[in-house]
Every structure is written in structure tokens, then in C-alpha cells.
């Protein structure tokens, strides 16, 4: 039973504070339900694959462009500072550290928060306000498992893959600039680039991307699944999905960097 029920007549503290705590509570229940449904049969394999295609494959063009430009521009911006010290040979490893540790996970997550988050928020929001989710429910279908679990799982699985791809095209962008200026071979560039990358860097980036993917999925699904107020609510769900996802991604970035640096 998902539809809203009665609300108290008078606020306990104030309407805004009450609403905040109610939201925290319902979000917690939503996340708990996700994990409960995740391990319950039957698995929605076909819908999960479809969502992976939507989240992963459909984002490739945008990710390619953004990743490539990020690598290229970052290299161009770093070159003058390094050339002052005659240290342009450090460019590959500097760029690789920056791209793999921070830029690739963050750029991928922000792009996906905008593209995938808004799309999930709007799609589920529209299904909610046009009673399509209720229609699933009364047809004895579990809409949470079919719509929410598959989408959250798809974003969580696809973000690390997209992140690896972003890192690769970012490094390719960087290589282009390095090659044009120093005529460096691609083998030498990548050997230099990965010389300072540790297992912890790769693990931390993958973990970050998974956390960002989960955040994007769960936030967008929560907003869409609980959308109200007709078409206005759909727009609001799409918008809030992006804003909250991005906000949480930055907070997670700070926390994960602190933890990883303390391990390093």
C-alpha cells in the first residue's frame, strides 16, 4: 500500500520541521524497502538490463564528449604552471591522478545526475500522477520491485563502468594535447600516466562511482515514486532529483576523500 494516508490536523513542532522529519523517515523506509526487495525473488532481470541500456549506453555520447574535453582542458590549463618549473613531463601522471581520483567519478556522477536523475524522476513522477503505478499495484504487480529496484541497481552498476570509460576518454583528451606539444607516444603516455596510480585509487574511485550511482538512483526514484500535484509535481520531481543528487554527491565526495586519505 503506497498511497498517502491521513495527516495530523496540527503540526507537532512547525509545518516545515514536521515535513522535514516526515521526509527523513519516509526516505529511510524507502531505502530499507529497496534492500528488502532487492534480495527477494523473482529478479526483474529483463527490466534491469533495459535500465542498464538506458543509463549506460544512452549516456555514452554525452560522457564521451564531457570526459574528452575535461582531460584536454585540464591538461591545457596545467601545462603553463608545470612548464614554469620545466616539469611538463609530469603531466601524464598529474592528469591521471586528477582524472582517476577525482574528475572521472565526479564528472560522470554530475552528468548522470542531470541526465539520468531527471529522466527517472520525471518518468516515475509521470507514472505516479497518471495512476500507472497504482494500475500496476492493482494488477497484482509489485511496482517497487519492477520500477525502483531495477533503476537503482542499474545506476549503481553502470556508474563505475561509465566512470572507467570517462577516465579513459579523459586521458585520451589529455594525450592529444601532450602528443601535439611533446610528440609523446601513446604507450609512453599511458605508462607514465599509470605509474603513480595505486590499487587504492582504483578501488576508491570505483566505490565512489557506485555510491554516486546509488544516490542518483535512490533519490530520483524516491522523488518520482512519491510525486504529487499533477504535472507540476512531475517537473518538481525531476528538478529536485537533480538538485538533491548533486548536493549529496558533493557531500559524499568530501567524506570519501577524507576516509581514503586517512587510509593512504
Amino acid at each position: 500500500m503506497d498511497s498517502s494516508n491521513g495527516q495530523p490536523d496540527k503540526p507537532v513542532i512547525s509545518p516545515g520541521v514536521d515535513r522535514f522529519f516526515v521526509n527523513v523517515h519516509t526516505t529511510f523506509l524507502f531505502v530499507a524497502r529497496f534492500f528488502r526487495e532487492l534480495f527477494r525473488f523473482p529478479f526483474e532481470t529483463r527490466e534491469f538490463i533495459r535500465q542498464c541500456y538506458m543509463v549506460g549506453y544512452k549516456s555514452l555520447a554525452l560522457i564521451s564528449l564531457t570526459g574528452f574535453i575535461t582531460g584536454l582542458v585540464f591538461t591545457k590549463q596545467s601545462r603553463p604552471s608545470l612548464s614554469e618549473f620545466g616539469a611538463t613531463s609530469w603531466l601524464p601522471s598529474l592528469i591521471a591522478i586528477a582524472v582517476i581520483r577525482a574528475l572521472a567519478p565526479l564528472v560522470t556522477a554530475l552528468i548522470c545526475a542531470g541526465k539520468v536523475g531527471s529522466s527517472i524522476g520525471a518518468e516515475l513522477g509521470s507514472m505516479r500522477v497518471t495512476e500507472q503505478i497504482d494500475a500496476m499495484e492493482v494488477s497484482a504487480i509489485n511496482p517497487f520491485k519492477y520500477l525502483v529496484v531495477t533503476r537503482v541497481l542499474a545506476t549503481t552498476v553502470c556508474l563505475p563502468i561509465l566512470m572507467a570509460y570517462t577516465a579513459l576518454v579523459g586521458l585520451m583528451g589529455s594525450y592529444l594535447d601532450v602528443h601535439l606539444n611533446e610528440q609523446t607516444s601513446i604507450t609512453f603516455f599511458f605508462l607514465k600516466a599509470f605509474s603513480d596510480i595505486t590499487f587504492l585509487d582504483l578501488f576508491a574511485s570505483t566505490f565512489k562511482a557506485m555510491a554516486y550511482g546509488f544516490t542518483i538512483g535512490i533519490v530520483s526514484c524516491y522523488q518520482g515514486y512519491n510525486a504529487t500535484q499533477g504535472t507540476q509535481g512531475v517537473g518538481k520531481a525531476a528538478n529536485i532529483s537533480v538538485v538533491i543528487s548533486m548536493f549529496l554527491i558533493f557531500i559524499e565526495e568530501v567524506i570519501i576523500v577524507q576516509v581514503v586519505n586517512s587510509i593512504r
Binding site: 500500500m1 498511497s3 495527516q7 500507472q132 494488477s139 497484482a140
Partner: protein
């Protein structure tokens, strides 16, 4: 006016609602509803918009919780069912939404096959195709199988919505404003379809409407709802003989129309 279905079994109550209350904040929507639906019977719940008619059937199908009272569907108390039991019960109860609520991204055929495939993993593609053909034929829209919901008219969408509920072979049908927003001729077609569904699929139905013609043409009995209560219940003639302002205004409106 509809002739009362002779196959109604007055000893077999498929839905029994006792003292049902439901509020949204300070808005008391349902204030002590009592209703029995017998096997083979079409009960029309007639009332103005916003009187809680849709809330009533959403409680019956477990989309909303009541604040007080009991709802018994096919011998099961809806409030005490587990999620799995509720899902099983819902396969016996078809719900036709006011907006039809078709899945936008699927064709008509996929819309119909979806609940069937989800609820029966072993079913073959041939069986699904056969069932889809049967229900599409029942609603007279066999040619629309490959169309998207956006390409259908309001009346066609309603028909497909009804077909989608029929595919699970429900014992009970709940219609939420089946004729709302349709032209008079399409309304007649939908009314005929509701009666056809009752005859052909042997269903018992609750029809929520504010359309007097729909009530007259589809109801074996009528319950008039006003401010969350039933103010009159009985056959069409019995109800419209009552001295009640709401009933008079309904009749007057219909006459003007």
C-alpha cells in the same frame, strides 16, 4: 433502464463493507459506509465529485487504508492481509481507472500482456497472444493491438483499460467514473460494455459515477453518496422516488441534458 440480472446470488456476498470511515487531515471523506455487493450484481455508487466515491473503491482494492471499519473482499478482511495475500486477492479484483492509466511506453498488446506475464511466469507466448485477442475482441478493439495509448481516443483508452483488467479473469470489477469526459455515444458504448462484461465474464461490479444515464443503464442497484454517507440505496426506481435534494438535482440535471 437496465433489467436486473436474474443470476444475482443474494446469498453470496463478494464485498461486504461495514462502518467504513476515512479522513484526510480534517477532511472527513467517508463517514460510516455500509455496502454489500452480491455475486453477479452491478452496484452503482452515484454522487457528486469529491464526495469520496473513488476513495471507497481504492480502499476496497487496498490502495488506501481505512481509519475505521471493515472491508471484506471474497471472504478476506482487506486490513489484515499480508502483502503477498493482498497481491493474490488483487488478481481477483479488476480496477478500471478514470484515466484508464495505460502504460504510455507500451503498445496496447503489451499493456494487456504485461499483467498476465508478470503474474504467470510459465505462460507461453501463444497463450498470452490468445488471451490478448480474447479480451481485445471483448472490448471491440482487436485492430488497436499495435497502437500506443497516445494514439487512442478517450473511449478507446477506457476500453483498453477495462480489457487490461479482464485479462486476469477477475471475479469483481471496480469502475472509477467509466463515462467521465466521453461523448454521449461513447458513453452508451461503455455502458453496454460494462453490461457485456457482467454477462460474458460473470463479474460482480461496483461502478462509481456521477452520470445518471450510466447509473440507470448499468446498475442492478444504486447507492447515492452525499458527504461521505449513503443517503439512499435500492433499485433505480426506489432511489429516485426518495425525497432528497441531491437526488432531485441529479434528475433535474439529467433532464436538462
Amino acid at each position: 433502464m437496465k433489467q436486473r440480472n436474474p443470476e444475482i446470488d443474494m446469498n453470496d456476498v463478494v464485498i461486504s463493507i461495514q462502518d467504513l470511515y476515512k479522513s484526510f487531515g480534517s477532511n472527513h471523506v467517508l463517514r460510516g459506509i455500509n455496502l454489500d455487493l452480491h455475486r453477479g450484481e452491478n452496484v452503482v455508487v452515484l454522487g457528486r465529485s469529491g464526495t469520496g466515491k473513488s476513495v471507497l473503491i481504492k480502499i476496497i482494492v487496498g490502495l488506501l487504508y481505512p481509519d475505521a471499519g471493515s472491508v471484506n473482499v471474497l471472504g478476506k478482511d482487506i486490513n489484515s492481509l499480508t502483502e503477498a495475500d493482498l497481491r493474490e486477492l488483487r488478481m481477483q479484483v479488476g480496477f478500471s481507472f478514470q484515466s484508464a492509466a495505460l502504460y504510455d511506453s507500451m503498445t496496447v498488446g503489451e499493456n494487456l500482456a504485461f499483467p498476465l506475464r508478470r503474474n504467470n511466469k510459465q505462460i507461453s507466448n501463444d497463450q498470452v497472444r490468445r488471451m490478448v485477442d480474447i479480451v481485445l475482441d471483448a472490448v471491440g478493439l482487436s485492430q488497436a493491438i499495435n497502437q500506443l495509448p497516445a494514439e487512442l481516443s478517450g473511449g478507446q483508452r477506457k476500453r483498453i483499460g477495462i480489457a487490461r483488467t479482464l485479462i486476469l479473469k477477475p471475479q469483481i470489477m471496480l469502475y472509477d467514473e467509466p463515462t467521465a469526459g466521453l461523448d454521449p455515444i461513447t458513453c452508451i458504448e461503455i455502458n453496454n460494455l460494462i453490461n457485456e462484461v457482467q454477462r460474458r465474464f460473470n463479474t460482480s461490479s461496483i461502478i462509481i459515477t456521477h452520470d445518471l444515464t450510466c447509473a440507470k443503464e448499468t446498475g442492478d442497484s444504486i447507492a447515492v453518496m452525499q458527504e461521505g454517507r449513503f443517503v439512499a440505496q435500492g433499485s433505480f426506481d426506489e432511489v429516485f422516488r426518495k425525497d432528497n435534494d441531491l437526488i432531485k438535482s441529479f434528475y433535474q440535471y439529467n433532464f436538462i441534458q
